[in-house]
């Protein structure tokens, strides 16, 4: 399993060097290193409690790693607060979705356009226009004026996605955007993510739907008990006996 990041070519957007997060005695993420380049999609899989969301929280700024370094476009960002990371170009979705319930879909996405990278759009009409475009892009064009809390599960996922995209991110962290969707809806979201390729965005996609991960990812990283147990080409990683064991347990002989 060789890393592709070493060879010259696409610019590295985010790099983690041995990041560790402990909660009192419990080690949630243990000395994990990885990097994602422009236009690259890194799929992250692992059983429940493997530390995937904790890792996203460290990248987005909710947690500070106990050890290790996070470099965003070459700058150390370990202590940079969340909102400033958003200005730098880091956007995320939440596994437990966090739409602004009292706002319409358009207003939700407008917040992303108003405050995202470089402090976002300063004028309301321009931000609203940008929000409208991303709602169209994610297939919510017909629900623009609906209150966010009236949207169903799949539409809420789209809304989360549109909010993050409206921020104009350089790095997009997608935490289980497909959980709870039916196969048709999963395919739609996969298509959306593929459409984002070629815009210079680095993407980290946490997902349990293995089929989606296989078709999306340029590389797949596997976390188990907070440790990285595999990182590389999707087909090879998903065939790795250690990965299968982590997910399904050991084959009895």
């Amino acid at each position: 399993m060789t890393q592709t990041a070493a060879k010259p070519g696409p610019k590295t957007v985010i790099e983690a060097r041995g990041i560790t997060k402990r909660f009192q005695g419990l080690v949630s993420v243990n000395a994990v290193s990885f990097s994602i380049a422009e236009d690259e999609i890194l799929g992250v899989i692992g059983p429940n409690g493997a530390g995937k969301t904790t890792m996203v929280n460290m990248l987005s700024g909710t947690y500070t790693p106990n050890e290790g370094e996070i470099l965003f476009e070459g700058t150390r960002i370990n202590e940079v607060p969340t909102f400033r990371r958003a200005h730098m170009g880091i956007a995320r979705t939440f596994q437990v979705m966090k739409p602004f319930p009292g706002m319409t879909a358009l207003e939700n996405v407008t917040v992303g356009a108003l405050f995202g990278r470089d402090g976002g759009e300063k004028s309301m009409p321009a931000a609203r226009e940008r929000a409208r475009e991303w709602l169209e892009f994610t297939g919510l064009g017909h629900r623009i004026d609906n209150p966010a809390d009236s949207l169903g599960g799949p539409d809420r996922k789209r809304l989360e996605f549109a909010k993050a995209l409206a921020m104009g991110p350089r790095l997009l962290l997608l935490d289980e955007v497909m959980a709870g969707l039916n196969p048709v809806e999963v395919d739609e979201v996969v298509d959306l993510i593929k459409k984002m390729r070629g815009k210079g965005i680095a993407m980290l996609v946490i997902e349990h739907v293995v089929k989606a991960i296989r078709s999306l990812s340029d590389r797949v990283m596997v976390l188990h008990h907070g440790e990285k147990i595999a990182d590389g080409d999707p087909t090879a990683v998903l065939a790795d006996p250690r990965v299968i064991e982590a997910y399904l347990g050991k084959r009895r002989t």
């Binding site: 909102f83 958003a86 200005h87 739409p99 602004f100 319930p101 207003e107 917040v111 300063k122 921020m167």
Partner: protein, 315 residues
């Protein structure tokens, strides 16, 4: 708030401006009190309504406004306008100093932290010789209720226009995002602490000016009336009754409550406070989102609306 509603509101304000020529003295005095309370409610709305942070410290800014004006006018013989400005600046500095540490606290912890401020201020001013210690200060007498009325009305209009701007601006979107979900707002790039502090400072400005006007009008300031925590409770009630985070809700809410209280007090003086309490309890049970929400959903306003509110908010 749409354009027709804005025009109607400005026309109503213009109509109210004629009251000193038409109304009786009692009417004008009631008007001054009602307008000042509406201004206080509208200022409280800037932080409380838009970010959802319940402050019990706004009466501190009111007190600083009254004392700023009173000290400037009695001890230094400065004109009223200068006194107002001094009170406002002191209150804004206090809002900044208080806000920076405690607006990092979330939700109920913020409310608890603000609760102590009022008592602390009362204790400080009771022992300040320059503020007349616990005796208070007597301001120069000016019998010109019409002027105070117009000042109070002008302040309310200015404060409401500020809230109207907030409701349409990037700043307001940031505040509302903080109210709806502070974590999500932060991860989208909203500097929550800075936005909340800015909202508190804006609120403190209008609150202090209202305090200064009241001080000069009533010609007397003492610690108990300047730092009156029930005044802060009245601000909260008016905003919750009218509709938090709306432009007209706090104004209409406080007008209605002032009127109800005045009528109750003149009809049945002893039971007025009790009945007033009953009105508020019923309002919170049946319309927790305020009058503004009722007006907005008036098309399908049936008894179901009230039943739904009860169902949604019971434990």
């Amino acid at each position: 708030m749409n354009r027709p509603l804005l025009i109607v509101s400005l026309l109503v304000a213009a109509g109210l401006a004629t009251l000193p020529w038409l109304g009786s003295d009692t009417m004008i005095q009631f008007g001054i009190n009602a307008l000042l309370l509406a201004t206080l409610a509208q200022s409280w709305n800037i932080l409380g309504g838009f970010t959802g942070y319940v402050s019990f410290g706004n009466s501190v800014f009111y007190g600083l406004g009254t004392y700023g004006t009173a000290i400037a006018m009695t001890n230094y013989n400065l004109p009223f306008g200068v006194g107002l400005a001094i009170g406002a600046v002191v209150a804004m500095i206090a809002a900044l100093l208080v806000g920076l540490p405690i607006l990092r606290l979330r939700g109920p912890y913020f409310a608890i932290a603000t609760l102590g401020l009022n008592g602390a201020m009362m204790a400080i001013f009771s022992n300040l010789p320059i503020a007349g210690s616990n005796i208070g200060l007597v301001l120069p007498l000016t019998r010109n209720d019409a002027m105070f009325y117009e000042l109070a009305l002008g302040l309310l209009v200015a404060c409401s226009l500020t809230v109207l701007w907030i409701s349409r601006a990037r700043f307001g979107m940031g505040l509302i995002a903080v109210r709806e979900d502070e974590d999500a707002a932060g991860s989208m790039g909203v500097n929550a602490t800075r936005y909340k502090v800015a909202a508190l400072v804006m609120a403190s400005f209008f609150t202090a000016i209202a305090g200064g006007i009241h001080a000069y009008w009533s010609t007397f300031v003492d610690p108990a009336s300047a730092f009156d925590s029930t005044l802060n409770v009245r601000m909260v009630i008016s905003v919750v009754f009218g509709g938090p985070g709306t432009v007209l809700g706090p104004v209409i809410g406080s007008f209605i409550l002032s009127t109800v209280y005045e009528v109750l007090a003149s009809q049945i003086s002893t039971a007025a406070a009790l009945l007033f309490g009953v009105v508020i309890v019923l309002a919170v049970i049946f319309m927790p989102k305020g009058l503004a929400d009722i007006l907005r959903s008036r098309r399908n306003l049936t008894w179901r609306y009230f039943i739904r509110n009860i169902r949604e908010n019971r434990l």
